[in-house]
């Protein structure tokens, strides 16, 4: 696709005013999520739209140029790549979840009869495995808090520690999974292939994870369960009766995606194969009555009741994905639908944020900030990398939706890193580690809020009648226990200072970006 010539914009008040749309967005995000505690991505879309309109008022000359720059930003390849990756990854992740994959993991933990001391460490490992497979830390936080958290409480594990372990596992997968939204953004914005980024990331993730496992073992045996008076149930007997191990077959389609990804297949191709295999497994498992899943779990047309729809419902094959419902419940559903739809607000936000970044580029705002940072702060490669780590951490610590924060900071990481010829893999790793870690630590972090929402759903839930509002973990109390997140930041500060894992562009160049 031929690039259009770059338009330059001039702003009343100087080059830094071109940062207004993004600055206003960040202020909006802090106000909405940090102060008011509302983790609503569509709310952030409204913030970015407001920012783009506010910026328009300061443009010198023709406003049409400003509009053209918005279009130029939204049609950049980085935006399209992220959109495609999210849609495919979303469908795949949701299809695995309806196929009973989480149940399979719970089954594995219970048959191994894990005790309260060991439970947080094992939960961290299983959450990390799930998150690495499905690529969504938020989904992992929700699934594990709904399913594994109550099991751990019944076993007598410390609830705050257990919630921290779940969030740590989510951080691990968000950071490492090839289909994770933050992994994709980090690779695309630093012009590196996703497979290579993931492979180069292992050296940091395993160091932090090893430290985190040790910390969960020490804390698990050292800190007693808070509610000693809770009913202790034989969880092994209780849970294994209700969950099926068969969801574990989805390890095969996760493996398929990973193998295809590492072989350099395009993300659409790799995930499509995984999705087809997962769908086939779901239909087979459902038909054999091994897991409560069917074709309708993946795609379902809920049509209003009339003669025609009832005739369609009775048809073979097509009828499997059509049901007739009362007028108020009409709609389309299933994992293919909801998996993709879950990313719609984030997709729109990304398109608008990329447009905001383009305005900042066209107006010289990026140049102004970069000159300041490069001339005054990042004068050596060690200081440049430390600036990249601390800067990414700060932005992610303040903005709830970590993917949005990552997109906003990514151009700085690219420019600062290229100035010292830091390899695209290394840049992507610095960017993503802090993005993944900080989004799950603080009480306004999106991942933490996702898990907390699931925990609120446990109160008076059908499967957990014993869980009361007093048992909810205070979101502000969990931050010291998200061990993997903290260790990941520490590993990168150490790596920036000592050169651990550092690679230059001249050592090896990253491969084509659209390869997974």
């Amino acid at each position: 696709m031929p690039e259009e010539p770059d338009i330059e914009l001039s702003f009343r008040g100087g080059r830094l005013v071109s940062a207004l749309p993004i600055a206003l967005f960040i202020a909006w995000a802090i106000f909405q999520s940090g102060i008011l505690g509302i983790g609503d991505t569509t709310g952030l879309v409204a913030g970015m739209l407001t920012g783009l309109i506010a910026g328009l008022l300061f443009v010198r000359g023709d406003w049409k140029d400003y509009a053209d720059v918005i279009f130029a930003g939204m049609t950049r390849r980085v935006a399209a790549t992220a959109v495609v990756a999210w849609l495919w990854a979303g469908m795949f992740a949701e299809t695995i979840q309806v196929g009973g994959f989480v149940d399979g993991l719970v089954w594995a933990a219970t048959v191994l009869n894990v005790g309260p001391g060991l439970f947080p460490a094992v939960t961290f490992l299983l959450a990390a495995l799930l998150a690495t497979g499905i690529g969504t830390g938020y989904g992992t936080a929700i699934a594990f808090t709904s399913l594994v958290f109550p099991a751990g409480l019944l076993l007598g594990a410390n609830p705050v520690l257990l919630f921290g372990a779940i969030l740590s596992g989510a951080v691990f997968g968000d950071n490492l999974a090839p289909v994770s939204d933050t992994t994709i953004v980090s690779a695309v914005t630093q012009d590196a292939d996703i497979g290579g980024v993931v492979a180069s990331r292992v050296k940091y993730a395993v160091v932090a994870a090893a430290l985190a496992i040790a910390a969960y073992l020490v804390a698990g045996f050292g800190i007693p369960g808070v509610w000693g008076g809770m009913p202790h149930i034989d969880v092994a007997g209780e849970v294994s009766a209700s969950v099926s191990p068969w969801g574990l077959v989805h390890l095969l389609d996760i493996a398929l995606v990973i193998v295809l990804a590492v072989r350099g297949r395009h993300i659409i191709e790799a995930v499509s194969w995984g999705l087809l295999l997962a769908a086939a497994f779901n239909v087979a498992l459902g038909a054999a009555n091994l897991v409560d899943v069917s074709a309708g779990s993946m795609l379902l047309f809920s049509a209003p009741q009339n003669g025609l729809t009832q005739a369609v419902e009775a048809l073979p094959l097509v009828g499997a994905v059509v049901e007739t419902v009362p007028a108020g419940q009409v709609g389309v559903g299933g994992s293919v639908y909801s998996g993709a739809a879950g990313f719609f607000p984030l997709i729109v936000l990304t398109l608008l944020l990329v447009a905001g970044a383009e305005i900042m580029r066209a107006g010289g705002g990026f140049d102004a900030i970069q000159e300041l940072v490069i001339d005054r702060v990042a004068t050596t490669v060690r200081r440049a990398e430390t600036t990249m780590v601390v800067g990414t951490a700060l932005v992610n610590a303040t903005v709830t939706i970590n993917t949005a924060a990552e997109i906003a900071i990514a151009p700085y990481i690219a420019t600062l890193g290229k100035r010292f010829n830091i390899n695209g893999y290394r840049r992507a790793n610095i960017l993503d580690a802090n993005t993944s870690a900080l989004g799950y630590i603080f009480p306004w972090g999106g991942g933490l809020l996702a898990g907390y929402g699931a925990m609120q759903g446990l109160v008076g839930g059908e499967a957990t009648p014993w869980f009361t509002a007093e048992m909810l973990v205070n979101p502000a109390s969990v931050f010291p226990y998200v061990f993997h997140g903290w260790f990941l930041v520490a590993v990168f500060l150490f790596a920036a200072w000592t050169g651990y894992g550092r690679e230059y562009v001249s050592d090896r160049t990253s491969e084509e970006v659209s390869r997974v």
């Binding site: 690039e3 590492v262 490669v381 060690r382 010829n421 893999y425 651990y500 562009v505 090896r508 160049t509």
Partner: protein, 87 residues
């Protein structure tokens, strides 16, 4: 690069001042422009290129190292090819 190679690359403590041999051809981004010349920083090592009119800051270039002083981490080089900016 092989899969295993990708996994095992970079498990080292890399110096802030890498060294290069004269005649070595490397790929790197342009760090600064000064008049007609270019400065390419690889970590804290600096390679100066006298004639690099075609290349802009952040352009990727192939350059041949013509000299390198390992004690002071500075060298000179010539542009072999301008690969241009990342898309």
């Amino acid at each position: 690069m092989s899969r295993l190679g990708k996994l095992l690359a970079g498990w080292t403590f890399r110096t802030a001042t890498p060294t290069f041999e004269p005649g070595e051809v490397i790929t790197a981004y342009v760090s600064e422009r000064n008049g007609d010349g270019l400065t390419v920083r690889i970590g804290d090592s600096v390679i100066r290129v006298e004639d690099g009119e075609d290349a802009a800051v952040e352009d990727k270039i192939r350059l041949e190292v013509t000299s390198f002083d390992a004690a002071n981490h500075v060298g000179t080089g010539d542009v072999v090819e301008v690969l241009g900016p990342d898309v």
